[in-house]
Symmetry: C2
Subunit: 208 residues, 2 copies
């Protein structure tokens, strides 16, 4: 799932300032630690995720993990960074409503099925690194989704002058609110309901 890394690459090593010695050992350590963190998260959940557990599981020493990632939030930020497909493109179903439904189904899937997303949200309240990573991720996604709105305007579905960000947030926020903050039971119809409402509102000229 991770994007293949071009030979010429931005400094990266994300967790640290720069990789001044990116050779085999450091890379292997990073690999083992991130794998262990993800496995632990999947198998035993966010509450079980501690630096110590990950260190033991990966066979890397505690202090090394603390040094490179600082806290669980840093670990998760790096896991997300690695897992996020840079080539992600917003859906293009031919209608605003269809696109929003697809986006929402993805969000719903991430919030109910992907432990990394939920864990990172939880961690973002305790770790600056996690908060930053999460914000960057969302900013990027909302930016890319601007296309959805532009195409809808081009098709004449909705009036021009609509604030894409406001529309997109209106279309997704109720999902986060229900599942993350209110912790309601997941309802498979919810993504579609919410998306339809937002599309209706946009057609009626809201978000202008």
């Amino acid at each position: 799932m991770a994007s293949p890394r071009p030979t010429s690459e931005l400094p990266d090593d994300s967790a640290t300032d720069r990789a001044r010695r990116p050779g085999g050992r450091s890379a292997a350590v990073r690999r083992r630690v991130l794998d262990a963190a993800l496995a632990q998260l999947v198998q035993h959940g966010y509450d079980s995720l501690s630096i110590d557990v990950v260190a033991e599981r990966s066979g890397v020493h505690r202090t090394t993990v603390y040094r490179r990632w600082r806290d669980v939030g840093g670990l998760l930020a790096d896991v997300l960074h690695e897992a996020s497909v840079d080539a992600w493109r917003p859906p293009d179903t031919g209608s605003l409503e269809g696109d929003l439904v697809e986006v929402n189904q993805e969000v719903h899937g991430a919030l109910t099925g992907d432990p990394v997303t939920v864990a990172l949200i939880a961690a973002s309240f305790r770790s600056g690194q996690a908060a930053t990573a999460l914000r960057a991720f969302w900013t990027d996604r909302y930016d890319r989704c601007t296309d959805i709105v532009r195409r809808a305007v081009d098709r004449g579905e909705i009036p021009a002058g609509i604030d894409a960000r406001r529309l997109l947030i209106a279309a997704t926020a109720p999902l986060y609110h229900e599942l993350v903050l209110l912790r309601s039971a997941p309802d498979p119809r919810l993504p579609e309901q919410v998306a339809r409402s937002a599309a209706t509102a946009a057609r009626a000229g809201a978000y202008g």
Copy 2:
């Protein structure tokens, strides 16, 4: 701000099962601890809030605080419980839009000005007590706000058959999303913008 307690009272003492000896000392301890927790929160923020700090600040022994409140989330749940005015009524401005704007301004105020709300949200990811308290609080508020929707239907502003909860969540969720999850800079126009959009959507027949 706390509701005056009737002489005949439900078991209460909220944090514990029941108060079998609600006499002066226990009450005084609770008072000192909750005051200390709130003061610490206001002065030094959520990150500084630990059982130990609150215990020292209140002059109550650590183990006592641990026994009665268990964790910081329990402490915050009790603080919220005490601070929430049971007599809260939803606004009644005469229009759906006006009511939603008022609600949103309240939410906005709580999220930008009241450390207890934000702290409780943060704590809800670490403490079952905090999560439960928060959900109860929100459930209660959304229930009460049903009146807003019913009155709008009665006035003929919006079609009957609208799902009040869905409308109310659509009207408030973007605020939580922006301020809590995305941590955007507070924008004083946001409450009104979001409320107007939701009202427009409702008039256009969304949320049905």
